[in-house]
C-alpha cells in the first residue's frame, strides 16, 4: 500500500513533538546540572554534609553549606505524613468501596476528589491561620514539624485514597464472590482477599504520595517556621529542602544560587528513585 504524501509529514511531525516532550526531562536535568556545577566544583559534595552550618551567602571559602538539617526536615515531615496518610487513605478507600451504601460512597468519593483539587497554597494558608494558632496554644511556637506533618497528611490523603480505591475496584468480582461463598465475614474478605489482590496498586499509591510529600513546597513553607535545625521534637520549627529553595532563590547569588540547584538535583534524584521503584513494582505486579 502506498503512503499518501501528506502522511509522511504527519508522522515526522508527531515524532518530532514526541521527542520534544520526552526531551524536557533531559533539559531539566541538564540545566540543573549546569547551574549546580560551580557549587559542586568549588564546595564539593562532601561539604554539603560535613560543614558546621548553612551560611551559603559568604562565598565558597568562608561560607558554610551544611544541608543535613534540611534533608532531615524533608525526611521527617514526609515520613510522618506518609505513615499517617497510608492507613487513613486505605481505610477511606475501603469505606468507599465496601462499607458505604452506594450513593453515600459516590458522594464521599466526590468529596475526596474535591480535596485533591484544592491548591497547595490554600492548604498552606489554612494551616497558617487556623492550624498553627491551635498548636501554638498547646505548645508554642505553633509553626512546627507537627503542623507540617498534619497539613501534608491532609494533602496526600486524597492521593492514597483515590488510587487505592481504583485498585480495589479492579479486583476480579469472582474473588469476592468466592470469599462470600466460603462464608468469610466482611473484614476477613478484605484482609484475606481484597487487600492482597490490590496490593501493587496500593503500593503505587503510597509511592506517588511519598513523591508528593517530598516535593511539596508551599504548604510546608507556610506552616513549618523554616528554621534551619535538625528537629528535636515535633513542636520544633523546621526547614525542608524545598522551602529552602523557595526562601533563598530570590536573593541568592553565585555559589549560593548554585548550591540551591544542587538541592534541586537531590530532589530530582529522589523522584527518579521513586519512579523506578514504582515501575519495578508494576512489572512484578503484572507477573504475579
Amino acid at each position: 500500500m502506498s503512503q499518501p504524501r501528506g502522511d509522511a509529514s504527519l508522522i515526522w511531525a508527531v515524532r518530532g513533538l514526541a521527542v520534544a516532550s520526552g526531551g524536557i526531562v533531559l533539559l531539566i536535568v541538564a540545566f540543573l546540572a549546569l547551574e549546580a556545577i560551580p557549587a559542586l566544583r568549588e564546595v564539593g559534595l562532601r561539604r554539603f554534609f560535613t560543614d558546621a552550618s548553612w551560611h551559603p551567602a559568604d562565598g565558597a571559602d568562608r561560607g558554610a553549606f551544611n544541608l543535613v538539617p534540611m534533608v532531615a526536615g524533608t525526611l521527617t515531615v514526609a515520613t510522618g505524613a506518609v505513615l499517617i496518610a497510608t492507613p487513613l487513605g486505605i481505610a477511606s478507600a475501603l469505606f468507599c468501596r465496601f462499607y458505604a451504601p452506594g450513593a453515600l460512597g459516590r458522594a464521599y468519593r466526590r468529596l475526596v476528589e474535591l480535596l485533591a483539587g484544592i491548591p497547595s497554597v490554600v492548604y498552606g494558608f489554612w494551616g497558617l491561620v487556623v492550624l498553627t494558632p491551635l498548636i501554638r496554644q498547646w505548645q508554642p511556637p505553633g509553626q512546627s514539624l507537627l503542623a507540617g506533618i498534619l497539613i501534608l497528611t491532609v494533602m496526600i490523603l486524597p492521593t492514597v485514597a483515590l488510587l487505592s480505591e481504583s485498585s480495589l475496584r479492579s479486583i476480579p468480582a469472582a474473588y469476592l464472590r468466592g470469599a462470600t461463598a466460603l462464608g468469610l465475614s466482611r473484614w476477613a474478605t478484605i484482609r484475606g482477599v481484597a487487600l492482597p489482590a490490590a496490593r501493587s496498586g496500593i503500593f503505587t499509591a503510597v509511592i506517588l504520595a511519598t513523591g508528593r510529600a517530598v516535593g511539596e513546597t508551599m504548604a510546608v513553607l507556610m506552616v513549618m517556621g523554616n528554621i534551619v535545625q535538625v528537629p528535636g521534637s515535633v513542636f520544633d520549627p523546621v526547614r525542608t529542602l524545598t522551602a529552602n529553595i523557595a526562601l533563598e532563590m530570590g536573593y541568592a547569588m553565585e555559589v549560593h544560587r548554585s548550591a540551591l540547584f544542587v538541592t534541586g538535583l537531590m530532589l530530582m534524584a529522589i523522584v527518579v528513585v521513586l519512579v523506578a521503584a514504582n515501575a519495578r513494582l508494576g512489572r512484578e505486579g503484572r507477573r504475579a
Binding site: 508527531v14 540545566f31 477511606s92 469505606f95 465496601f98 491548591p119 494558608f125 469476592l176 466482611r186 540547584f261
Partner: protein
C-alpha cells in the same frame, strides 16, 4: 469518563459478630467522618472568612496598600495570561505526543518506552524544581526575565504529562473498527486522524485539558521565580505578572493584615477551579452526544 460504571460485584456481607469485624467497621466509618469533617472545616473556614470580602469591586479593582485593600483585577489578568501561554504551548506538544504514543508507535518499541518513561519522571518532578529550571532556562538563558511568558512556558512543561496521558487514553478508547473502516475507505492517515480519531478522542482531550488548567491555576512554587511578584496590570507577555496563588502566598506570609484579602482571593481561586471543572465536563458531554447522534 467521570464515573466508570460500577462493575457487577456482590456487596460483602454486612459484617459478622466477632469483635475484629466490628472494630474495623467502626474505624473505617470514623476515618470517613474525620475526612468529611476536615473538608467541611477547610471549606467552611474559607467561605466564612472570604465571602464577606468578596464584591464585584474586588474583581475589577487594582490592589492597593500592598494588597491589604483594593481588588485583584491585574492578578486575574496575569493568571489568565499565564494559563493561556501554558496551554498554547502544551496543547500542540501534548496532543502530538499522545498521537505518536497511541497511533504511530508500538507500545513496546524503544522510542515509545523512552518517551513514556521520561514523562513518568516529568510527572513526579516537584514544582519548585520546575521553578529552578524555568528560572535558569527561560528567565536567564533565553533572556525572558521574570515574565508571564517564562511562567507560562514553565507551567507548560509541568502540565504536559497530564495532558498526554488523558489524550492518549482518549485515543486508545476509540474502537479499532473506526481505523479499519477509514483504511478500507482509502482515507489517508492524516485525514483519519483529523476527521475521525481526534474528534472521537475529544472527551479524553477535554479531561486532560481540565486537569491541566486546574494544575496550572493551582501552581505557586514554579511561578515564584519565573513570572514573579509584580502586581501591576501586565502590558505585554514580557511583563512580570503575579498569579492568584502567588498573591495568596504573598498576602499570607509577607503582608501583615493581608489575611482578609488572602481569604477572598482563595475563595475566588477555588471557585474558579470548581466552575471550570463543571463547565467543561458539561460541554464535553453535550459535544460528544451531538457528534455521535449526527454521524
Amino acid at each position: 469518563m467521570r464515573d466508570a460504571p460500577a462493575p457487577a460485584v456482590p456487596s460483602l456481607p454486612r459484617g459478622g459478630t466477632d469483635w475484629a469485624d466490628r472494630a474495623v467497621t467502626a474505624a473505617v466509618w470514623s476515618v470517613a467522618l474525620l475526612f468529611t469533617g476536615v473538608f467541611l472545616w477547610i471549606v467552611g473556614d474559607l467561605v466564612r472568612h472570604g465571602l464577606p470580602h468578596l464584591s464585584w469591586g474586588f474583581l475589577t479593582d487594582a490592589p492597593m496598600d500592598a494588597g491589604r485593600a483594593g481588588g485583584i483585577a491585574p492578578i486575574l489578568v496575569s493568571t489568565f495570561l499565564i494559563v493561556g501561554v501554558c496551554l498554547a504551548v502544551s496543547l500542540p506538544l501534548g496532543v502530538g505526543t499522545a498521537v505518536f504514543l497511541a497511533e504511530f508507535s508500538r507500545g513496546e518499541s524503544l522510542p515509545a518506552r523512552l518517551v513514556r518513561g521520561s514523562l513518568d519522571v516529568l510527572a513526579g518532578v516537584p514544582s519548585i524544581v520546575f521553578g529552578l529550571f524555568g528560572n535558569a532556562l527561560f528567565s536567564l538563558y533565553l533572556g525572558m526575565g521574570f515574565s508571564i511568558l517564562s511562567g507560562g512556558l514553565t507551567l507548560a512543561c509541568m502540565v504536559l504529562p497530564i495532558l498526554i496521558r488523558s489524550t492518549e487514553e482518549g485515543l486508545r478508547a476509540v474502537p479499532d473498527d473506526y481505523r479499519k473502516a477509514a483504511a478500507a475507505l482509502g482515507l489517508s492517515r492524516t485525514a483519519t486522524l483529523w476527521r475521525i480519531l481526534l474528534p472521537a478522542a475529544t472527551p479524553g482531550l477535554v479531561v486532560g485539558l481540565v486537569l491541566g488548567i486546574g494544575r496550572a491555576l493551582s501552581e505557586t512554587a514554579a511561578l515564584l521565580f519565573t513570572s514573579g511578584y509584580v502586581a501591576r496590570m501586565p502590558g505585554s507577555l514580557l511583563d512580570s505578572g503575579r498569579s492568584l496563588t502567588v498573591h495568596i502566598y504573598d498576602l499570607a506570609m509577607n503582608v501583615p493584615g493581608g489575611e482578609a484579602n488572602a481569604y477572598a482571593t482563595a475563595v475566588v481561586l477555588v471557585t474558579l477551579l470548581l466552575v471550570i471543572n463543571m463547565l467543561t465536563f458539561q460541554i464535553a458531554d453535550r459535544w460528544l452526544h451531538r457528534r455521535i447522534t449526527r454521524t
